[in-house]
Amino acid sequence: MALQSCVNIKKEWDIVGARQMGRDIAREMGFGTVDQARIATAISELARNIYLYAGSGKVCFEKIDTIEKRGMCMIATDAGPGIVDIGQVMEDGFTTSSGLGAGLPGVRRLMDEFDIKSAKNVGTEIKAIKWLR
Amino acid sequence: MELDIRVEKDNDQIAIFLTGEIDAFTAPKLKEELAKCTVQSGKIIQVDLEQVEYMDSTGLGIFIGALKSAKEHDSSLKLVHLQDRVFRLFKITGLDEIMDIKPVIQGGKQ
C-alpha cells in the first residue's frame, strides 16, 4: 500500500485543501470527471463533519494498487466526542433534517466501500474507498 | 388550523391565553408550552380559552396530563372562559368535576 497523504482539518478553509488534494490524486489515478466530482463531494462531507462536530482532525488518502484492483481510499479521523448511535447517523433523513448536508448515508452512496469506527469521548474513524473501473 | 399561545407571568401567577383550535395538529405545541409551566413548583396557572372555538379529545388529554403534572409540582391549574362547545367536552367526560373550570358567564350565571 502506498504512502498516505494527509490534510489537517482545523478551519473551514482546510476542507477546500482536502478537496484539492483528493482531486489531484483522483485525477492522477485516472478517475473520470463524474467520479472525481463524487470523491471531492465525499471529502467535503467527511471534512465538514470533523470541522463541525470534532473541531479538528485529519483526512488522509491512500492509493490502493494491487493486481486485482485499483482504487483510492480516504480515511477521516478525529478525537472528537464520537458517535454514540452509528445506526442512527447512517439513517436517511437523520442529519439532513437538521440541514447539515447529505451526511454519512450520502457519502456511503457516493463511494464503493464505507466503514465507521467510533468510541464515545475517544473519536471517530471513517474509511471510504472508491474503485477505479 | 392554527393555535396561538400567549404566556404572561407575574411572580407565581402564570396566565396563558389561547387563540384558535386545539386538535391533533396543534396539541403538541400546547403540550410543550403547558409542560414548561406545570413543572415549576408553586405556580398558579390559569388558561384562558375564550378564543378557542374548537377543541377535540386530544386537547382533553393535554389538559389531564397538565393537571397531573401541576399536582405533582404543587402548582394549580385552572381553565377559564370556555365556550359552550368546548365546555361540553369537559362535562361529558366528567372532567369538569375533577378540574377547576369556569366557563363563559352567560346571562349572569356561570
Partner: protein, 336 residues
C-alpha cells in the same frame, strides 16, 4: 446505474438535431430518454456528464470556458443527486411502513372482531369506520348465560396506531372478566383500574357499557365520560339523551361508576355513537346532534343495519368523503 452506449448515442443524435434545427421532435425524443433514465435511477450528474461528452464529440472545438462551465454544473449536481437518492430511499422506507401498518390494521380487525348476536325481537345495526388505517373506536357484543346482551362502545383519545394498540388491551381485559362481574358498573370500575395503571397520563378512553335484559325489557348502563347516546321512544315519536355521569377511564384510580336503567318498549331504539359522529363537519360548520337524529328518524323504518349505513353515507358525503375521526354508530331496535 450507468448510462449505456445506445442511450448515449441517442442522446447525442437528439442534441445534434436540436442544435441544428431547434426541432420540437428532438426535444420530445430527449424527454423519452430522460424518462427511462429516471426509471433506472440514473443520477443527475451522470446526465450532465452524458451531455458534456456528447457536446464535446459534436463540437470538438468548444472553448475551454464553455467546457469548464459545464464541468462546474456537473460538480453542483452531485449534491443534488445525493439528495435525490436519499429521497428515493426514504420513499421506499415509507412504502414499507405503510404495508406494515396495513398488516397491523388487518390483525387488529381480526383481534377486535365481534359477532353481532342474534337475539329474537332485537334488530341490531353497527358501523365502525376508521379515519386512518387503524381504528381507535371499539364496540363489542357479549351474550350472557342469563340471556342478557352486553354492548360496549368505546373511543380512545387520538387516532392511529397508539389508539388501536390501546383498544386491543381493553378488549382483552373485558374478555378476562368473570361473567358474574358483568354488570356495567363493575366492568367500568375494573377497566378504569386497568387503564389507569397501563396507559400514558395524557391518554384516556371513554366508554359506554349497556346490558339489555330481554325478560325484564330493561337496559342497565353506565358511562365513563362517553358521548351520550339516544333513546327513541316509539310511543311519543321523540328522542331523549341517555344521560349518564361518569369520569373517563384512566384518570383517577378509584373512580366508582354509577349504574342507571331504563325500560325499552316495543318499537323503541337505542342509538350509541362515538364523537366521530357528532364531530362531523360541514365545511367549517359543525353538525348539531339534531342532524344525526333527523337522519335516524328519517330512516327509522329500515332494518337497523341499513339505517347505520345510510347515516354513515350521508355524513361521509357531507364531509367530502374524508373522515376526521373514527366513526362508530350502533343502533338497536326492539321489534316486539
Amino acid at each position: 446505474m450507468d448510462v449505456v452506449k445506445s442511450d448515449a448515442a441517442n442522446y447525442k443524435n437528439f442534441l445534434k438535431e436540436f442544435i441544428e434545427t431547434q426541432n420540437e421532435r428532438a426535444l420530445y425524443g430527449a424527454e423519452q430518454i430522460i424518462k427511462t433514465f429516471i426509471k433506472r435511477n440514473i443520477s443527475p450528474e451522470e446526465i450532465v456528464n452524458l451531455h458534456i461528452l456528447a457536446f464535446a464529440e459534436l463540437y470538438p472545438n468548444i472553448t475551454p470556458e464553455v467546457h469548464r462551465a459545464m464541468n462546474f454544473l456537473l460538480e453542483t449536481m452531485i449534491s443534488y443527486g445525493m439528495a435525490l437518492q436519499e429521497y428515493q430511499a426514504l420513499r421506499e422506507k415509507q412504502l414499507e411502513l405503510q404495508s406494515e401498518i396495513s398488516v397491523a390494521a388487518s390483525m387488529q380487525e381480526t383481534l377486535l372482531l365481534t359477532e353481532k348476536p342474534c337475539i329474537s325481537g332485537l334488530d341490531i345495526g353497527v358501523i365502525s369506520i376508521p379515519a386512518q388505517q387503524m381504528n381507535g373506536d371499539y364496540h363489542h357484543f357479549m351474550k350472557g348465560k342469563d340471556g342478557s346482551l352486553g354492548i360496549a362502545i368505546a373511543d380512545v383519545i387520538g387516532k392511529g396506531v397508539p389508539a388501536a394498540l390501546c383498544m386491543s388491551m381493553i378488549k382483552y381485559s373485558v374478555d378476562s372478566f368473570p361473567e358474574e362481574a358483568m354488570s356495567p358498573q363493575m366492568i367500568l370500575n375494573s377497566l378504569n383500574r386497568v387503564v389507569e395503571r397501563n396507559v400514558d397520563p395524557s391518554m384516556f378512553i371513554t366508554m359506554f357499557y349497556g346490558q339489555y335484559h330481554p325478560d325484564s325489557e330493561m337496559l342497565t348502563y353506565a358511562s365513563a365520560g362517553h358521548e351520550p347516546g339516544f333513546h327513541y321512544c316509539a310511543e311519543t315519536d321523540t328522542f331523549s339523551e341517555i344521560k349518564a355521569k361518569g369520569l373517563v377511564l384512566g384518570v383517577l384510580p378509584d373512580t366508582e361508576y354509577q349504574q342507571y336503567e331504563r325500560k325499552i318498549n316495543k318499537g323503541d331504539m337505542i342509538i350509541l355513537l362515538t364523537d366521530g359522529v357528532t364531530e362531523c363537519r360541514n365545511g367549517e360548520e359543525f353538525i348539531e346532534s339534531d342532524e344525526v337524529l333527523e337522519r335516524i328518524h328519517e330512516f327509522r323504518h329500515l332494518p337497523a343495519q341499513e339505517m347505520v349505513e345510510k347515516v354513515y353515507r350521508y355524513f361521509e358525503r357531507m364531509q367530502d368523503f374524508h373522515l376526521r375521526d373514527d366513526f362508530t354508530l350502533l343502533i338497536f331496535k326492539k321489534r316486539v
